[in-house]
């Protein structure tokens, strides 16, 4: 084996699979987004920006954008605030805290389909846990998943429950990186706990917050499984997140051109967020002298 070829042979399997299943598809998607095609016909006529125009003029698309933006910008701040509070209570290693950390982390490695099914029961009208608990306080049965004003909130709740443990683990790592001297100094100055939290912890853990903020928003824009299993976008489009719309256009209506146009838009948005992430983090992480 000639020495010069060796490294190429080692990277060849990975690189060829990345090329075939990641990079070529990007090009294909862009190409298909300019064509009209439904799987059935042999030719795929070029239609320019027609697919994008149709998308931008459809109520469904803007509804999806609105629902996704609400989902991301309601669920992410709640998650991060809760996660930071819990993480700062769990930073020191003790047996009970490790158990609790494990319990909180478990949902993030558990299958989303199972979680969706379990919570479909929790929020079912007649026998569910949520209505069961509320009935103890005399609250009437609520039809959680049939009400457009509640269904999205329920999905946000479940997503928060599932992802919280991951955020906590990352926050704990971030908190442990804060030099103890800063806390000691604050203690010498007689800082109250609430004060120290606001003046020392929150600012110093900011790089972690930025990191979690951007990756959580990126992830929120890709939520599909919860919607697919629990609501299929309903009731009345109230939970029709963007990837659910993409799936419906592509694999229910078989409108490949328009599905690809939506995929390309999502791609551009998420890449932009990823670039912001690396820019912001590149500047902010060096707080330790």
């Amino acid at each position: 084996m000639p020495r010069k070829l060796t490294p190429y042979l080692f990277v060849l399997p990975l690189i060829s699979f990345i090329a075939v299943f990641t990079y070529i598809p990007i090009v294909t998607s862009i190409d298909l987004s300019f064509r009209q095609w439904d799987f059935m016909t042999a030719d795929k006529p070029f239609v320019g920006f027609e697919n994008y125009r149709i998308l931008f003029n459809s109520r469904e698309f803007w509804n999806s954008v609105r629902v996704t933006v609400i989902f991301a910008f309601v669920s992410v701040p709640i998650r991060l605030m809760l996660a930071l509070l819990i993480a700062s209570a769990l930073t020191r290693e003790t047996f009970s805290r490790r158990i609790l950390r494990g319990a909180l982390f478990l949902p993030s490695v558990t299958s989303t389909v199972s979680i969706a099914v379990v919570f479909s029961w929790v929020f079912s009208t007649d026998y569910g846990m949520a209505n069961g608990l509320l009935s103890l306080f005399g609250v009437e049965k609520i039809r959680w998943m049939q009400r457009p004003d509640l269904a999205l909130g329920v999905l946000i709740f479940i997503n928060t429950w599932k992802q919280l443990g991951y955020d906590i683990v990352i926050y704990i790592a971030g908190l442990q990186a804060i030099p103890q001297e800063l806390y000691d100094a604050a203690a010498v100055d007689g800082g109250k706990r609430r004060h120290v939290f606001r003046r020392v912890t929150i600012p110093l853990v900011m790089p972690t917050t930025y990191f979690l903020l951007v990756i959580s928003v990126i992830e929120a824009f890709q939520v599909f499984t919860l919607v697919s299993v629990m609501t299929e976008g309903g009731p009345a489009g109230a939970t029709d997140l963007l990837v659910n719309l993409l799936y419906r256009i592509g694999f229910t209506f078989f409108d490949i051109g328009q599905g690809s146009a939506l995929a390309v838009l999502l791609f551009i948005l998420l890449i932009a967020l990823a670039v912001i992430k690396s820019r912001v983090l590149g500047r902010k992480v060096h707080y330790e002298a």
Binding site: V11, F17, I18, F21, I99, L100, A103, A116, Y127
Partner: protein, 269 residues
């Protein structure tokens, strides 16, 4: 680990139980007869599991999930380790570009490739096959990136000593690098396995035959084909759900300890 205040420990345990109560209750429910469930009586049975595994084909789904996740993990971690080794140890024409292309996949949302991958596999006739489920999931840029960082921390002197003894690059990788990087390879393998086990959208798109469904697709089907709320056989659905989540939870609990030990002990001196 620091000693614990028993009151705090009790509270922590309680908080954990409350947090996990929906999942824990779903597992309890899966052992109840459906009549007991609706009447509020307590009557335990394995019947739901028997029904899910026998009549509803979950034995087959379980097998499919094991085959697909197992193959994706083994092939994926091999490809990632080989590439990581080349990126860590060689500088070759195009290596920076290829490495950048590998790392950039971390930013690329998978949904962009959903339709094209479907078309590609349809063209070569691999929809509704194990290969169609496995191939698009094999390349893992994150694992390659992570392992490269790890391998760079292994002293080059170890490679060189092996080369002196006349070993080939493949042998150096297999006999020197892999044993030392084992904790990292194991944790990446576990990460790939869990991700693939829980994968839903690709198996949903790529399969239309019942005997090729993975657990996730089979479970979603079982739940969604139920005619409507109130008529759902919840204990049966929860048994199916438990079948899909328990292997990962059990594996995670078992391997986590091994991983932590491996990471502390396997560190290069």
């Amino acid at each position: 680990m620091k000693p614990d205040n028993p009151i705090l420990a009790g509270l922590a345990l309680l908080a954990g139980l409350i947090f996990l109560s929906p999942v824990l209750y779903s597992i309890w429910m899966s052992f109840q007869t459906s009549t007991a469930y609706y009447t509020g009586a307590v009557d335990f049975t394995l019947g739901n599991y028997r029904l899910a595994i026998g009549q509803y084909n979950f034995a087959r789904y379980l097998l499919n999930s094991l085959i697909v996740s197992g193959a994706v993990t083994l092939i994926g971690i091999s490809f990632a380790t080989m590439a990581a080794y080349a990126f860590a140890r060689y500088s070759f024409f195009g290596s920076n570009l290829l490495f950048a292309a590998t790392v950039a996949t971390l930013m690329i949302p998978s949904h962009i490739s959903l339709i094209p991958n479907y078309l590609t596999l349809a063209k070569v006739g691999l929809l509704d096959s194990y290969a169609g489920l496995i191939l698009p999931a094999i390349s893992n840029g994150f694992a390659a990136f992570f392992l490269r960082q790890y391998i760079r921390g292994i002293p080059r002197a170890l490679d060189e000593a092996a080369y002196m003894d006349g070993a080939s690059p493949l042998k150096v990788l297999w006999r020197v690098i892999v044993p030392i990087a084992k904790p990292a390879i194991l944790s990446m393998g576990l990460y790939i396995f869990i991700t693939e086990w829980n994968n839903y959208i690709w198996p949903l798109v790529a399969t239309s035959r019942d005997d090729l469904y993975t657990l996730q697709v089979g479970l979603a089907r079982l739940y969604r084909i139920n005619p409507g709320e109130g008529l759902i056989n919840w204990p049966l659905v929860m048994a199916a759900s438990a079948i899909s989540m328990l292997p990962v939870i059990a594996g995670f609990v078992l391997v986590e300890r091994h991983l932590v030990r491996g990471i502390t002990m396997g560190a290069v001196k």
